[in-house]
Amino acid sequence: MTSRSLSDKPVAVIGAGNFGSAVANLLAPHTKVLLYARDESVIEKIKLNRENRGHKMHDNITPVSDLAYVANSCDILFPIVPSAHFRSMMKRLSPYLHPYHILIHGTKGFDITLPKGESVDSINALSRSQVKTMSEVIREESVAIRVGCLAGPNLSKELAAGQPAATVIASQFNEVIVLGKRLLRNNHFQVYGNNDLVGVELAGVLKNIIAIAAGALSGMGYGENAKGLLISRGMVEMIYLGRSLGGNTRAFLGVAGVGDLVTTCNSSLSRNFNVGYRLAQGESLPNILESTDEIAEGINTVKIAKKCADYYQVKAPITNTLYKVLFEDLTMKQALQYLMRYPLNVDIDFL
């Protein structure tokens, strides 16, 4: 089956954001692509200028605004929309999906379902039954069963420039991995497979926390020693949090874990990094949020991960102090002082 050529059906990317556009461009040399955008003006713009969010769009890409049409024309879909809108998008898409559809998402965030009258700010702690990864949202909302995710050090701007990079396709189904590889791989883009879907998703989501912290260190003007400290301790924290949420340690040591972590912690191109950087420079959170056009997933992730850590009683000092900086009145300076005095002195105790 795997050696047979792909059918002539197009492949869909749902969400014409920064990463969605980049993925569409990665797919386009291999196959026709339908790029779904909710906003008609975006579609018009792409049709007119062949350009979106700074990406020059490949000729194989057709922008569309009809989800039913997308689901009927394509067997393979890449939903890449912010986690906050993911479930509602799935609800709209779900009536048109069949069990033969294959969905590979590229969203690094959590979905939360709360009892009526509660909000993420009012609730004290979050258990796993309330916090879902995107693949779980897909399974809950639709009949699609062959589901995967795309994670790894994939800064959209570098991808667009054709610089060497790699990604992980994670799925319980080997056929999804094989398909993903065939669709995305090219001479400067390496694709790895992993069967621990939830582990890879968690790694991708949790690294955003550390990315904000890295931005903050940078914003305070600290150098490489500090960053090394943060990345290694951040890694440990990610693993603890990840395990409490049902991931395996191994997924965190791969491209989607360490790989993505190091990239985002070093890059001013990352939105999460930027949020941390500007916070450390003294800007306030509402201010920062107002001036960015795309959502930094990390902010929400900090909130959710902190409440999960409370529920499962996991030690997560970086997440906790970051939470205090973002949503309470701690300053970055105080946070750092607190962390440096934190009594944790075993280097590695999870292997």
């Binding site: 059918s7 779900s94 069990p99 056929e175």
Partner: protein, 563 residues
Amino acid sequence: MEVAEKKNKNKRYKPILDGIPDWPVYQLSKNRKEFVEEVAQKSFELVKQVRPTTKQLLDELEATVYREQQRMKRNRWRVDAVDEPQFWIKVKEELVALTNKTSEEAQVKADEILYRIILRYADEIAGNFKPSSYKFTRELIKFWFGRLLNGARVKKFGAFFRNQYTLRDKIHIVGKVKQLRKLAKQGTIVMVPTHFSNLDSILIGWVIHSLGLPAFIYGAGLNLFNIKIFAYFMNSLGAFKVDRRKKNLPYLETLKTYSTLAIQKGAHTLFFPGGTRSRSGAIEKQLKLGLLSSTIEAQRNAYLDNPNGDVRKIFVVPVTLNYHFVLEAPDLIDDYLSVKGQDKYLPEQDKYGSWQLLQFLFKFFTKGSNISVSIGKCLDVLGNYVDEDGNSLDSHGRIINTKDYFIANQEVSIDKQREDQYTRMLSQKIVSEYHRINRVFASHLVAFVAFEMWQRKHPKLDLFELLRLPEEDLVLPYEEFIDVCKKVRKQIYQLKEEGKVNHATHLKGKMDLVVRHGMENVGIFHLKRPLLFNKEGNIITQDLNLLYYYHNRLVGYDLEKFI
């Protein structure tokens, strides 16, 4: 004293197919020889696919011979064929003779040996359904059970020959009977019950008959055939034999192929997906995936063979059997504890011969202890619920085409890894259905509460230390016990509201009566009772291990925090 069960609604069901010759199982057994050969041929091809080179095949054969000889040496059963040792000695000699042959010569001979082994296995596995003895057995069971029931219950001379009570008064069937009967006509049913006792096989056979369904093919453990009375029942009910001692590749492939082909040919099938009886007394959490995967394979083959036409759909039906009492409980829990305590291997052994079983049956029918059988909703092979017409439904009630699960690139394809995942998902769904349709009895409630309360009173002890406490020291004050029972029952009601569990009607009403009912029935026929009242009316135990066993039935519902 018996707390009245709600008036028994169980009625007699008409058979859905008129004559035995229409039954798929009969068709299968009439053409037994052809079927066994077809199974052997398919299995042969499958093994050859997995072991493509001569060397791999020879290694596999050698390993098979070695394992079989070890098995015969260590763990031989009464039911094993007499000519077994000779057969394997001959195979071994032939294999040795191949060592200095060329690869081509060896391949031919090895194929021949492999086929011979597989044919032997297929023949051993195949059931032997005979309409005459099926009818005879059925009437025999009905007649004698009727005599026992009436003789014991109605205290009048001549009651022995009356038919005032029938088995239907003893065994309550609840759940989705109508759907099952309807879908059994248009599709193939694969029934997957929980497994607590060796009696399950007979019980479920009776249930199938009394629902008016044609006989099912059973996957029954070969060990059961050691007990003569069982062997007789099973053979006549269309059982096929599953030998858990044989773990070699040719055997496992043959077994799976047998089951897959039988399902594909439309034979309603029954097997216990837990593999063996639940040792701990808890509802199965881990199912054996081998036989389950054969349902998925059979469905896929049906779509593959018939790409455009109508396909006979396969329906998976979870069933739970709910008892107050499990005959083998003391040995099962011993097994469980010794395995859990120190990882050691225990060969399966049955201490219960035909005589013990008859004794138990007599007690069962003469004393008040009911059994209930819950039939779950029909599922498709992916674990989706189906509607009255057999259409698979998604969680929003939209109709799904099951075929789409096997489609890649717009056509049905075979993908083993994909189907392994599907099997795992199906297994999880079955386990959650078990918990959902499980009927809580008063006896489960009191056992659970009593054990948890003793555990709570000794927070520092681990399970094994707790079980070692002298039973004389354990007393629960009646009032306190009643209070906790009330709290837990309230939570059970709550869970029922959420559709997560079911309970017997006798669980409702005054707690004093419910507790009394539970105490009188929990492990009713054991020499040492798991729960008793002492002279002051407080709760004591004679056997904590047994109590632990019955308590486990309610593990997995998070009821512990309400103690």
